[in-house]
């Protein structure tokens, strides 16, 4: 059973669910501010990348396709973070 849980696919699933519970806890705990918001977006990026590499199975796909999807993720995440950070830290309240 332990061996099964630690296999790559199950490990990816555990990481994804663990990250989801963590961001929920960060919010439920009443934490706020630019740092928490940026951490939330960073975790979303990491989760999305795991889905692309391990669930979509692009880790061992031709580099063009892997770069296309990872490039999309990086571009969209960068734009989101940039707009978020420039929208004013003073407004990032609970």
């Amino acid at each position: 059973m332990v061996r099964w849980v630690l296999m790559p696919l199950q490990r990816t699933w555990l990481l994804l669910v663990g990250a989801t519970v963590t961001v929920l806890w960060m919010r439920e705990d009443g934490l706020a501010g630019l740092t928490i918001g940026t951490a939330t977006l960073a975790i979303a990026y990491a989760k999305a990348r795991l889905v692309i590499l391990d669930f979509m199975e692009l880790r061992h796909a031709p580099l063009l396709w892997r770069c296309l999807l990872e490039g999309w993720l990086l571009l969209v995440s960068s734009l989101i973070v940039t707009i978020y950070a420039s929208s004013g830290a003073a407004h990032h309240s609970l």
Binding site: M1, W4, M7, P8, L9, Q10, T12, W13, L16, V17, T20, V21, V23, L24, R27, E28, A32, I36, G37, T40, L41, I43, A44, K47, A48, V51, I52, D54, F55, M56, E57, L58, R59, H60, A61, P62, L63, W65, L68, L69, W72, L75, V76, L79, I80, I83, Y84, S86, S87, G88, H91, H92, S93, L94
Partner: protein
């Protein structure tokens, strides 16, 4: 769970190969591009009305958003496990994994039904304010993708029950799976942007 065979491990030694169908991947890229624009538009409108977006967001149930995230992540796991089982020739396990994935997709729809119902009962609609306009439109468009993806999975499940997928034929199941993972991928961002980001 023990009755299901172990999914095949990734094989770094095997030659690089694109799973499924190239045309489906082009379609996925187009979808991702469109949703990328939606995300950026949401962030832009949020940046000019941060207080309004933060206030309205308090009306959402974060736990239901997280529950739906876990349902889709788990469904994605089941579907990629079905693909691995097909590749290994464990054809009896393929429809079982797919049925689990479909059930979780249906559960996502049920949660969304209750979530939308609660909002509409509280008098909150797409015209309430800019935040809820984005909330209903983005999650609504995504929900249509969940429905379409579930139908695709159902067709693949029927094929899998007929033992159509095996070591020598995994293109169809891989193509459907890649679309389903895209639905999962988009929800990860929708959950972060709509339910969490403040």
């Amino acid at each position: 769970m023990n009755a299901l065979p172990l999914p095949a491990p990734l094989s770094p030694a095997s030659p690089r190969r694109l799973p499924g169908d190239r045309d489906v991947w082009i379609f996925i890229c187009a979808e991702l591009f469109a949703f990328g624009l939606f995300f950026v538009a949401y962030m832009h409108y949020r940046s000019v009305s941060v207080a309004l977006f933060n206030d309205s967001q308090l009306g959402l149930d974060r736990s239901l958003g997280a529950l739906n995230t876990i349902l889709l992540l788990t469904s994605s796991w089941a579907v990629v496990s079905a693909v691995r089982a097909a590749r290994l020739g464990r054809i009896v396990a393929v429809p079982r994994y797919l049925a689990f994935g479909i059930a979780l997709g249906l559960a996502f729809m049920v949660v969304k039904y209750f979530e939308y119902g609660a909002k509409l009962n509280a008098g909150i609609t797409v015209t309430t304010d800019m935040f809820y306009m984005f909330y209903f439109c983005l999650t609504g468009i995504h929900l249509m993708h969940v429905v379409a993806g579930t139908i695709v999975l159902f067709v693949i499940w029927l094929n899998a029950r007929a033992h159509l997928y095996h070591t020598g034929n995994t293109t169809g199941i891989e193509a459907g799976a890649s679309y389903w993972h895209m639905v999962d991928l988009l929800w990860i961002f929708l959950f972060a942007l709509l339910y969490l980001l403040r």
